[in-house]
Amino acid sequence: MWYLCVFYHRLLSYRRAEVESLAEMFGVFSSLEWMLPENQHPDSPFHLVNLPSEDIARNIANRSILVKGIYELWGEGSSFEQLEEAIKSYPEDRKLPYLTCETTFKVTVDSFGKAISFQEQNDRIKSLAYIPFKGRVNLKNPDINFWLMETDDYGAPNGLPPVVQKRIFFGRLVGGADRKLLPTYQLKSRRYLGPTAMDAEMAFLMANQALVMPGKLVYDPFVGTGSILVAAAHFGAMTMGADIDIRAVRDGRGPDCNVWSNFKQYGLPLPVALLRADNNLPPWRSGLKEIFDAIICDPPYGVRAGGRKSGGRKLLKGIVGPYTVPDDKRTDHIPSTAPYSLAECVHDLLDLAARMLVMGGRLVYFYPVLSEGDVMETHFPEHPCFKLIASSEQILSSRYSRVLLTMVKTGSYTDKVAEAAKTKHQEFKENYVKWLEHGNLHSSVFGPAHLHLGEETDSKLCKELKPKYRGKYV
């Protein structure tokens, strides 16, 4: 059955991907059918989606972060007359069960792109008198929620997606996101924070992309302050994290301000394991594989935090002789670390995920993308064991974005596959992403403008390519 799916006007390219992932979580294994209502732009909040049952629709909506509501659409039209006609011709047997005298109901009037005065809202509700409501009104806790929504081109450019023509929708609410989660988990009330702690909304979206459910084992190889695992634990997963920075995982900022305390703060089960390990040389025993259900992470790509790997001074061989730790200093020796380029980091991440994820397990991670000239970089890392199923862009500045990649493990990992992946990665590195080398991305993001945007006309052109309403949170 087709449902009206109304999104929050946020993180536009994450919205359908989230619903698709949640559909799979709740047992829909074929790909979803989508449509746009008449005269709607793809960036509009109004979408139509075909779902097998109302229960599935409710589960998806209630678990989501970006779905304002999924509605059983009783009618739509370009004018109130058309809407009335549509509602009247909607089958009686679909309507009557929700209009009986035993039920309580509420009608909410909403609009996209304009505020409607209280008086006008009342008038609109009264204009629905042709619907035979028999139940009692209950504004606080109604059994049935009806919504009357409209969107229009209000003339002046208002920074919203273009609307060609007015459209009005009337429907019965099936379910919607519980965004009360977000103030509860917001970073400003989190006790232990680092410079790259993941925003709560984004962390929940990542957990949804990774199909996090109770009893699943989720791993974050760049755990930091644990902000991604907190979201996974909220959805019931067993969590496990590693980081090369021992101060982050072990010490934090004191006994009540560390990764553990971030979980205790919300009454969540503590991570199964936290360890200090290097993603470049992971300490897993040989033979261990297919143990994690999902790997979710925000790899260090050198813009706000740079990656490090073990090896340190040894890598300067030739300039400085290879370093050997004196025997009397071994016990408390603090090894130096070497820079870890994003290219290497992504390769190691894919290799780790290919080996350690169960079949069908998901790898969800952020990948930086520079807006170079007119074309967005659209080549994402590939691996023979994985299929890319979603890529959602979050614009961070006019110069760069980060893209949330969701990959599913579809092939099993063997030494042969690992070798092939290495070759493939080498090609990828040479052909597409020079800036993946250490430091290049940082200078492209923070360097003076003329260095990389070329002539002024170019930069103007590329600014105009992104619609004005697109930004960090939209």
Binding site: R250, V272, L275, L281
Partner: protein, 122 residues
């Protein structure tokens, strides 16, 4: 560090061919209760190195696990609870993991194993 983690880790020093299982040196062990999830234990069981778990549990002072185990024993809740206890409720809070081949110690402090290698071990 729980024995669950111990069961996954090995010494990955360059040149070491058999770094598993790491020997456990105990300074302080804690017991913390964790909600019992039978399915989690069942899913994990085939991926465990059973002997390493039994030996590890004994080192931490828990000797209830049988020497041999196979998947038919997963029917028994008593067995599942024992595995659950050994895997998830015993914590090595302070101590070290020792590489069986080289004797290199990986310290465990505040429950966090430090598996980072020195410059000359990479």
């Amino acid at each position: 560090m729980r024995l669950f983690t111990h069961n996954m880790l090995s010494s990955n020093i360059k040149g070491v061919s058999n770094g598993f299982p790491l020997r456990i040196e105990v300074e302080q062990v804690l017991e913390k209760q964790v909600d019992f999830n039978p399915d989690f234990v069942k899913n994990l069981f085939p991926k465990l190195e059973w002997k390493a778990l039994v030996d590890g549990a004994r080192t931490l002072g828990y000797a209830e696990l049988p020497e041999e185990a196979d998947s038919s024993m997963l029917e028994s809740e008593e067995f599942l609870r024992k595995v659950h206890h050994a895997l998830l409720e015993l914590h090595l809070e302070e101590g070290a993991l020792t590489c069986p081949e080289t004797g290199r110690k990986f310290p465990v402090t505040k429950g966090i194993p430090n598996m980072l290698l020195h410059e000359d071990e990479v």
